[in-house]
């Protein structure tokens, strides 16, 4: 059998470019100093739900307000995770597991206080009618939740009617759509036209394998999203006052 050294044939750019710090080391630099908060942030990073609850119990026992804890530590801990993801230090499954742990923590805080926290905003997500490819959509939903948004997930193969109904009912700050097939992405145009007809004007973020910026640019509410990680950035931009034109300027980079 012929074994040939890779030098000159290929370059593992991922190995070549790798940050020298381990994810754990990088995270450790970012944890809050507070004795009560640090273990919770750590538990979120590790994706250990039980440890998150344990940490929260300790904090509540020490007099912290459960609802305040959501913003003060759960969201803070999660931000460490998503920042590291954005920097390429950690990978998506870590984010997913951390998000699961954080969401458990929020549920726990809510049940402890009996009150509901104010979320950053509500977002409706869906996969285009006729399309069953829903992994990208699930990632988008998870990252939005991880960033503190309330997500209404309409699932895959979602009829245009249902999308319009949901927007009417939920009054979200933005709507996302995912399509992986050239045959299904045209549903976005229809959703757009029905929204406009109904006087519903909100940014309609579209992404997924089949979709491209040129296509999304052809309907008035459309904003193209390349990576799932762009979804929370778009939502944040909306909170900061960006309209559709501004969103396009920022996210239509091609």
């Amino acid at each position: 059998m012929l074994i040939v050294d890779k030098e000159g044939i290929l370059i593992r750019y991922n190995v070549k470019m790798e940050k020298s710090m381990t994810p754990e080391e990088a995270a450790a630099e970012l944890y809050p100093k507070d004795e009560l908060y640090k273990p919770i942030a750590e538990a979120i990073f590790e994706g250990e739900e039980d440890d998150v609850i344990e940490g929260l119990e300790a904090a509540i026992a020490a007099g912290k307000d459960p609802i305040a804890l959501i913003d003060d530590i759960l969201m803070v801990g999660m931000k460490i995770v998503t920042d590291l993801y954005d920097q390429g230090v950690i990978f998506l499954p870590n984010v997913m597991m951390s998000a699961d742990a954080m969401l458990e923590g929020i549920e726990f805080c809510k049940s402890e206080s009996g009150a509901s926290p104010v979320t950053k905003g509500k977002i409706v997500v869906h996969v285009a009618e006729g399309d069953v490819h829903d992994i990208g959509k699930s990632i988008v939903a998870a990252l939005l939740r991880a960033a503190g948004y309330e997500v209404v997930d309409l699932g895959r193969d979602c009829p245009v009617d249902e999308v319009i109904e949901a927007v009417k009912k939920e009054k979200p700050m933005m709507l996302t759509g995912t399509a992986l097939m050239t045959t299904t992405m045209y549903a976005f145009k229809e959703v757009n036209d029905r929204l406009v007809e109904g006087g519903l004007s909100l940014p309609f973020q579209c992404g997924g394998g089949a979709v491209n910026q040129d296509f999304v640019g052809t309907y008035s509410l459309g904003v193209y999203g390349e990576e799932a990680a762009d979804a929370p950035k778009m939502a944040d931009a909306i909170l900061a006052g960006a309209d559709i034109a501004a969103l396009r300027t920022r996210f239509h980079t091609h």
Partner: protein, 459 residues
């Protein structure tokens, strides 16, 4: 039909495997023999979206595609070709549509075979439509439609029957985004294999009745999904070490088709086919450097190492400067085959195979494992416990981890190594009892995955 598990390797050593040769060649279609000493291109295509509106438009589109390909073949002097039609959902949901397409295509292929003597065969791959909006529905009415579709395409001219079945996918989608190795093992190795056993006995029956070939299945819905999420070297959605664990586990799953009556050629997108070929000795289709029209690849050359058919996976039909897409890609594929066939004819096939393999061996953990020598080892781990679908899948995953842990010349990132260490530990912590594993998983995933319905698997 019964299920006969593989408990031995078809090849006595890895080095025996080459492209264009299978222990058990398959005769199919018009004068074609697959794995019988030469490689053949398998051309894949997708109709333009507009063409799906009516049966007439769709048939017309496939006629154009078929004529374009056959015409290009004779213009450049290629001796053989396989066409694969992967159904768009209308074609499976309306079995008569699929049949009309198969008939139209075969008619053209027969004309070319008669006029020029070109060897050819037609593969049809109905979609696995056994689901509704929320849930998989593997065993209900939709199963009847799928079988009706197979029946009709076989009747109307399809020579090779395939499907990319979805059993286990509801658990897998949940597990893959959570680095959940036992979950992937359950989804692919257990549920996937169980569904395939059920489904493929039926397909093999149809093939026998119609005198056509039950070809094979791939773990597109799971191992390929993992590979896609893993992406390129700089993507950060899934460790490539985990993607290859999923792939290793998918080999015993895809093997099930051949245990239930299929005889090959296995379908193109099954990167696990190299392991399946080592075990079964049946011819396999592969795709890689000449399927970039459909997806990027981190083992574009390597995966060609032992192919019998060589495919472009899928390309939308439209015009390019050099002709229509199907003409461009079919020509490129055939040149690859001409190179392999020249090597075969001159006794240089092992050198070429090794060059293909060596070019990507260290490109990625995935290519490292699918290099034919390592793939063979995974095969051995599978047949060791060939009768137990859980154990053999677990063996495959563990052997994959072991080979990576002992790899030489492969550089991995800390992240890949971390995921590998975690997977290795999880495998080691697992029970060896199939029943224990099955019932633990049933409990865990029934609770965690709302769309999981055990009755899909007769559980």
């Amino acid at each position: 039909m019964a299920i006969n598990r593989f408990t031995t390797m078809a090849y006595s050593e890895a080095d025996e495997m080459v492209f264009g040769n299978a222990k058990k060649p398959v005769k199919a279609g018009l004068d074609l023999e697959i794995g019988a000493g030469y490689t053949t291109a398998e051309v894949n295509y997708a109709p333009r979206p507009e063409a799906g509106e009516t049966q007439e438009k769709l048939v017309n589109e496939y006629q154009r595609i078929t004529k374009d390909i056959m015409a290009r073949m004779v213009q450049v002097g290629f001796p053989s070709v396989v066409l694969e039609t992967e159904h768009v959902q209308q074609m499976t949901n309306n079995p008569a549509w699929g049949a009309a397409v198969a008939h139209a295509q075969k008619t053209i292929m027969e004309e070319y075979n008669e006029e020029y003597g070109i060897k050819c065969a037609l593969r049809h791959t109905p979609g696995d439509i056994r689901e509704d909006k929320e849930f998989l529905g593997l065993r209900g009415d939709k199963m009847t439609v799928v079988m009706e579709s197979f029946d009709q395409v076989a009747e109307s001219g399809a020579d090779l029957l395939s499907i990319e079945s979805m059993g286990g996918k509801e658990i897998f989608d949940y597990a893959v985004l959570r680095n959940d190795v036992p979950g992937m093992l359950y989804a692919i190795g257990c549920l996937g294999s169980m569904d395939m056993g059920y489904l493929w006995q039926e397909i093999a029956k149809v093939a026998q009745q119609k005198g056509v070939t039950a070809a094979g299945d791939t773990d597109c819905a799971q191992a390929n999904t993992a590979m896609f999420i893993a992406g390129g070297l700089l993507d950060k959605n899934l460790a490539h070490t985990l993607a290859i664990v999923a792939r290793a586990i998918s080999a015993p799953r895809s093997l099930t088709a051949y245990e239930a009556g299929a005889v090959g050629p296995g379908k193109d997108c099954g990167y696990e086919n190299i392991i399946v070929k080592a075990i079964s000795g049946m011819p396999m289709s592969f795709e890689g450097k000449t399927s970039t029209c459909a997806h990027s690849d981190v083992m574009g050359n390597l995966i060609m190492q032992c192919c019998d058919l060589w495919s472009n996976e899928s390309v939308e039909y439209h015009a390019e400067f050099g002709g229509t897409t199907v003409q461009c890609w079919s020509e490129s594929l055939n040149y690859d085959c001409a190179l392999m066939n020249t090597a075969l004819k001159s006794g240089n096939e092992k050198i070429l195979r090794d060059l293909l393999m060596a070019s990507d061996r260290f490109r990625d953990p995935q290519s490292y494992i699918l290099a034919y020598d390592n793939a063979y080892k995974v095969g051995e781990a599978i047949v060791k416990d060939g009768e137990d679908i859980f154990l053999r899948a677990k063996n495959a995953g563990m052997e994959c981890c072991n080979i990576l842990n002992g790899s030489e010349g492969l550089d991995m990132t800390k992240f890949e190594l971390g995921a590998l260490a975690k997977a290795t530990a999880e495998f080691e912590a697992l029970t060896s009892e199939s029943e224990t594993f099955m019932s633990d998983c049933m409990e865990k995933y029934s609770a965690e995955v709302p769309v999981f319905k055990p009755e899909n698997y007769g559980l």
